[in-house]
Symmetry: C2
Subunit: 133 residues, 2 copies
């Protein structure tokens, strides 16, 4: 079951170039900056209500965020939906014939379990997130 | 002040082609389908926690959603942030030198007041929304 939007990921060339817009112009607060080695990404975490904006900067020119920006430009990258049980959610999605990028959950930021759906189906890149695992 | 993510808009060619993925595979519920004549868009509203996913289908080949898809393909289109006072939020954003697409708030779906920020600054297309006006 999906419980909330966990976060929305925005691909940017440089967190430091854009962060002030989110904090000073929009009045949001930066909670943390994390590096996820596995995904070659540096993430600025900005809480909004029960959700978050994550600014995503590539730490490597071959990383997924660098490649996304090369192809589509900076902008909205993925939508993360929080689920109470990621294995159950993935099993239901597969049963409905929807393609997953990840066959098994993998580790995300802040000790989460995550899996991406293939955007061919949902049109947008959607990530499932289970927290606290 | 920003209080929550009001919704995330996803540009699609056809709501009917993709809706089942969101309802049956992801287990979300369709609340309503609305047409916003001014923006030449048909919107499927799908609540998620305190927020919503809005699937956006163009009602006109010259509409903004049709043009977005032509240029970038189907996918995440805009992020709508809810504010308690849209005029105050817009004044602060302008004061910080950030460009707005709309100089004055205009009418959105479900009796809201909305204004778009220029994506040059925030990198993603961001909409401000004040509800109940």
């Amino acid at each position: 079951m999906i419980t909330r939007i966990n976060h929305i990921g925005i691909a940017v060339n440089s967190i430091s170039d854009v962060l002030k817009l989110y904090t000073e112009a929009l009045g949001l607060k930066l909670k943390d900056i994390e590096i996820v080695e596995e995904q070659k990404v540096r993430t600025a975490i900005i809480p909004v209500g029960e959700s978050k904006i994550e600014l995503l900067e590539s730490t490597d020119p071959e990383g997924v965020i660098a490649k996304f920006i090369e192809k589509k430009g900076e902008g909205l990258h993925h939508l993360a939906l929080e689920v109470d049980n990621i294995e159950a959610a993935m099993a239901n999605i597969e049963k409905q014939g929807v393609q997953l990028v990840d066959k098994k959950p993998r580790k995300g930021v802040e000790n989460t379990s995550i899996a991406f759906l293939h955007p061919k189906g949902t049109r947008a890149l959607i990530e499932l997130v289970e927290t606290g695992k």
